[in-house]
Symmetry: C2
Subunit: 317 residues, 2 copies
């Protein structure tokens, strides 16, 4: 098969590229390298079955040229940082909503029928049901990031109805593991590198969050695409647990053998739009037969271990 992976040099996209190549497929990767990193494609670039297109999908003609003759599109290109929405609202609209629309139009122009989309548990806003299922009550958005991904989901669904496409929409918890380049584990590790004696924590440390190991995430996506057959297939992706920010800090400090003074900024939210409790009901994909291999704690440790052996990532950001 020939697949297209947008955001191919990103954290999750680059893992998908590696996995598809390993399974013997051909892959066209697209990235504008706004946050993607060339070293994440070191392995892929050695394969003759990988073709890299450097371009920005905000330009519809780039999308139309790149997304041709493929069996499916893995649309992972995005502004992935939920935290800075109120600083750069345009980014979420342009890089998440409009880029997805451009991908859909390119698929329509080139008669591509299948899309997998990296959505987010953030679209549940501040959920009222925990664990939160895919059919939770119609949520209210609390972040620009969530709003922009919800918008993208909606257009994908409408294209399925209007133009006969098939979609696989995955609402992720936060993803951890090799090539992780932003988020709380990254922030904590960076702080402990710079000043091991002190750790500043956004919020009160009691926020309850969920995480999934990146290779489990990739595995789940491919599993769902193999076994689910609806026109629009929506799956929460996570483990069946959550942890407190403080738990995560304990695991990180224990692994690094540090005992920093903890300074909390306070409040139940770390930043505007921070969600104090994220815990997704993943029974839908579990019932299909998939299960994660790593717990949240194992994922955190794996991530810290990766950062420790790849401090260049921490230093350049």
């Amino acid at each position: 098969m020939l697949y297209c992976v947008t955001g191919c040099a990103g954290f999750i996209g680059s893992h998908m590229v590696d996995c598809l190549l390993e399974q013997g497929h051909d892959v066209i990767g697209i990235d504008n390298f706004s946050t993607g990193l060339h070293p994440f494609l070191d392995h892929a670039k050695q394969s003759p079955r990988f073709k890299l297109i450097t371009g920005d999908l905000q330009d519809p003609s780039v999308a139309t040229k790149a997304i041709q003759h493929v069996d499916a599109v893995f649309h992972f290109a995005a502004n992935a940082d939920v935290r800075w929405g109120t600083h750069y609202p345009h980014k979420d609209l342009e890089q998440n909503t409009i880029v997805t629309f451009n991908v859909l139009e390119a698929m329509r122009a080139n008669q591509i029928q299948k899309i997998a989309f990296a959505s987010t548990g953030s679209i549940y806003g501040e959920a009222t049901i925990f664990p939160t299922p895919e059919h939770a009550p119609f949520p209210i958005q609390t972040s620009l990031y969530g709003a922009s991904k919800l918008a993208a989901e909606g257009f994908i669904q409408a294209y399925c109805e209007g133009f006969g496409c098939q979609a696989y929409i995955f609402r992720f918890v936060s993803i951890l593991g090799e090539r992780y380049t932003h988020g709380h584990v990254f922030d904590f590790y960076k702080q402990l590198l710079q000043h091991p004696e002190q750790l500043q924590i956004l919020g009160n440390g009691k926020q309850r969050k969920s995480y999934l190991y990146v290779k489990d995430c990739i595995d789940a996506i491919l599993f769902a695409m193999k076994h689910a057959t609806e026109k629009v297939n929506i799956f929460n992706l996570g483990t069946d647990e959550y942890c407190q920010v403080d738990d995560s800090i304990n695991w990180i400090c224990h692994y690094l053998n540090r005992i920093p003074e903890r300074i909390y900024t306070g409040g139940e939210r770390g930043w505007i739009g921070d969600n104090p409790f994220i815990f997704l009901d993943c029974s839908k994909i579990r019932k299909l037969g998939w299960k994660p291999t790593l717990s949240i704690q194992q994922g955190v440790v794996q991530t810290i271990d990766f950062l420790k052996h790849n401090t260049w990532i921490v230093e350049q950001r």
Copy 2:
């Protein structure tokens, strides 16, 4: 108070302008006249308290200049036709989602805190609960129109959380009454003008739809804004009933004293993305104390009566 009404020359927008002026407020109206009609502003233009800006809100600088010093924005500018989404997908993205984003950015730049937004019952897609409440299970979009309005809703909600705005989001059923310029009553009337002996009906005529009289709609919006105080206030707006397309045809034919041959295109959907059953649970706004004055049947008759006395509208479209 000074209010801004976007889409001020449209069906619903022009009624809001008239109502606000009648209540003694000052009004800045914006329209690009892509579908809005100057005659709908004949009354407003006689008032020294009305200022008309002709401009396209797809240009952010138009939005920023127009939306200044106002107490609230009534954002009604939109591509309002659910039926042609698959023909012009860009229109829904640009005129509904991006224009709403531009309005929000203009509000942020000019420190405007309150917005009323014309959303749609179409965002419930093919609902599974009837009547459908605001907190229905997270829907799947079935039309570009619904998707683009859902996207707009999401951004409005995120701006409320991120920038402290207050929003009133109204999910309308189809609106009927004076100045109605598109939709099934319009189509049927136009056909009966052109060939009174024959009526072509999209679908099987059994589609169950809900309608609300435009002046009841305006009344409901202002009522909700007076009595609801949440950060994000979402209300379904409709009557507590639905009708079949065939009922509506009966009322129209009876009023016009016509007995056309009915030719059905067949199928439970009139077009791609047509929703065979729309029936919203409006108990939330009813509990606040509002109620409609006209039934669906009365609204249909009022609309036909308006068209009969304003055939120029039918002739120009």
